[in-house]
Amino acid sequence: MAPTPRDRLAASVRYLGPKLVQFAFVIWATYTVTFLLIHFLPGDPVLAALSLKGGDATTTDPAELAALRAQYGLDGSLWQQYVGHFVSALRGDLGVSIATGQPVADMVARALPNTAAVAVLALVLGVVTAVVITFLAFVSPWRWLRQTLLQIPPLGAATPAFLSGLVLVSVFSFGLGWFPSSGSRSPLGVVLPAITLALPVGAIFFQVFSAAVLDARKGPYVFTAVAKSLGTGTIFLRHVLRNSLLPSVTILGLLIGYLAGGTAVVETVFSRDGIGRITVDAVLARDTNVIQGVVLVVALVYSVVNLLVDLSYGLIDPRTRLALVGRRAGSARVAAARDTAVVES
């Protein structure tokens, strides 16, 4: 029985609907929690900004203060601000930075590519290294070599980014002069920060991935493959890799979320512009509009990534794949449970 286009559409909606609702909920909840946290912190951000400019003894005209508040969108009741900010955020307007006077959306748009370059490169380096080390451990005929290889990556997780960053800078910038030590002007400047970030990211990914691979190594389907005399490399690439990616993809989603917001240390060490830097500056200056905008953007990135991760399960694992993609509607599980005898005979 082939599903009609109408069936396919209905099934897609049923599958995607809850995930999209979840997606919208995460964005809204993040906005609400950040909004409440910022507004229940003691002190007034506009007054703080003024006193930062003019020193503690600055006297402020109440009318001028009210005008400033209106300019930054911080006037009106709490409720009005909550709804007002949300509506303008939906239109892509994240307000104006109190500290710099620039639109927050522009600041984020300028910083995001820098952070994204570092984060993506770090992710690729981390994942590729983890897969390669796991592969070597998998094909290793000696137990001692396997154990040694498995002990390497936890080092990456244990080394703090400011230490590994400084070591990399002193060796590869000051010593060998291969890469610039700081700034985001040169395209090569992305390499050292990415390596620094790849260490913890790759190590965490490695822990999950290698555990899955070594588990599979002792498992029955690998035994079947060995009994067929497939080469060790073929077994890894054709059989083990995809099976072990299933648990690892989940951790990948979490790591991308961490990278989207967690680059602050690396960007500070390497003096690069980026989301992390903006966040640190905004928190120090009590620039509430920027904080709010950055948190929203990071939440958006994180939710999109997790939505993609959810969808990728279907690509990797036929058991979770939409039944409408296959030829037979998903009645097989029921059939297998009930009608074994009928099929058998």
């Binding site: 599903p3 069936d7 099934a11 049923r14 599958y15 137990r143 002792k218 498992g219 029955p220 389907y221 035994f223 079947t224 493959a225 060995v226 009994a227 067929k228 005399s229 497939l230 080469g231 054709r238 059989h239 995809r242 099976n243 990797i316 694992d317 036929p318 058991r319 979770t320 794949r321 939409l322 039944a323 409408l324 296959g326 030829r327 037979r328 509607a329 998903g330 009645s331 097989a332 599980r333 029921v334 059939a335 297998a336 449970a337 009930r338 009608d339 074994t340 005898a341 099929v343 058998e344 005979s345």
Partner: protein, 506 residues
Amino acid sequence: MTRPDTGDALLRVTDLHIDYDTRSGITRAVRGVGFTVAPGAIVAVVGESGSGKSTISQALVRRLPDGGRIVSGSISFDGRDLVTMPDRALRRIRGADIGFVPQDPSNSLNPLMKVGEQIAESLRLHRGLNRADAAAAAVRILDEVGIPDAASRAGQYPHKLSGGMRQRVLIGVAWSCSPRLVIADEPTSALDVTVQRHVLDRLETLARDQGTAVILVTHDLAIAADRADQILVMQAGRIVEQGTPADVLGAPSHPYTRELVAAAPGLTSGRLAPRPASAQGDAYAAAARSRLTLAFRASATATSVPDILAVDDLTKTYSLRQPAGGAKTLTAVDAVSFAVPRGSTFAIVGESGSGKTTTARIAARIVTPDSGRIRFDGQDISSVAGEELRQLRRRIQVVYQNPFGSLDPTMSVERLVDEPLRAFKVGNRSQRARCGSCSPPCASTPPSWTAGPRSSPAGSASASPSRGRWHSAPSCWFWTSPCRPWTCRCRSRSCNCSWTCRWSSA
């Protein structure tokens, strides 16, 4: 027919020793095994779990689990020694001339690869076929092993196939390159009895048609008797007896073989007889038992209700969620009624999916039925809840099917046994400790009370928690296929154990 020491043997194993290096020292799994397999012969290797029969089958493809190694001896296949052969040469033989049918069909296929491709892979490697030819040959092989509608099944993933069909796919993988020897390691242990026969028939037909020699590793003496030309009986890493089925089963000479033959349910018609138990040598256990027995008799005579358990019109449906097409309803139990007389053994028989386990779980109040009534000891327990239900748990006990999954692997056997006693606050700490280790009603001696259940063999693993439950004085037991994954000898011991428990409390 195979005779030892003939010149034309296909496989000749000589004085094979295999050790496992474990944390607690070296385990000698196989100690000096020798046998020959003639071309086209079916040789059954029989023995209980831990006798080394699976280790031999894995050694024949030179793939032992971590820590296992062949210490000495030779495995000569077609005149070449598999033990000393370089890897490259071995890989030309394994999969092409030697096929392997593994034990567990549910996990032995790659879940992310279409079944046709899993056969085609082997054909491309050993036969050098191109992609299209290999795919077509795979469909032919699937058809040959008895998979209906092979062309469309070849494009499906293993999870869409039933256990029996998956095992047939694995048989197809093993036979894909027309091997001269196939090693089948307990190929049907995980399957239903009805399916077992079909799979074995298929295996035997392929072997007879193609003249393939088969080494059939099994714990089921009845299967060995039925299918094999020659039987090897193994115990503790040694072959204790070998010969034709008629010789081995008709006139077993070794005491272990005699025990195996006596325990095999298919071969002997004798019923299990209740056996009086005693608690000699332990005053506490004897006193506890007599108290329990007296209390039970008193309650039995006080009530005039003849049935301990009566279920009436039980119905249970499950709604299966599907990614497409919404929910589908599966009626697991459909208007079931029965009554169990006090002090009797009541059997519910059926194949997997027939609803027998669900019925037992409903009657034990573990699963809630959609409708129907359960009366236990004269009381309607269909809707008891909270503390009342908890107290009921003490009187209704369940022995589960899978001794490996049902025990918490992080708890010692002793703690597992006295956990129910702790839950119901029976006795004080030292009494409970004694109870955990008191002279057991089962004839098994645990290797170590403080070790986890993983280190015990399956038979004693399932017996141990039963013991604690028995001490908390139940009046009704449920056994949900408790003996299925075990060897015959363990089965009969465990059933005797249940009989003893019943006898002493009734």
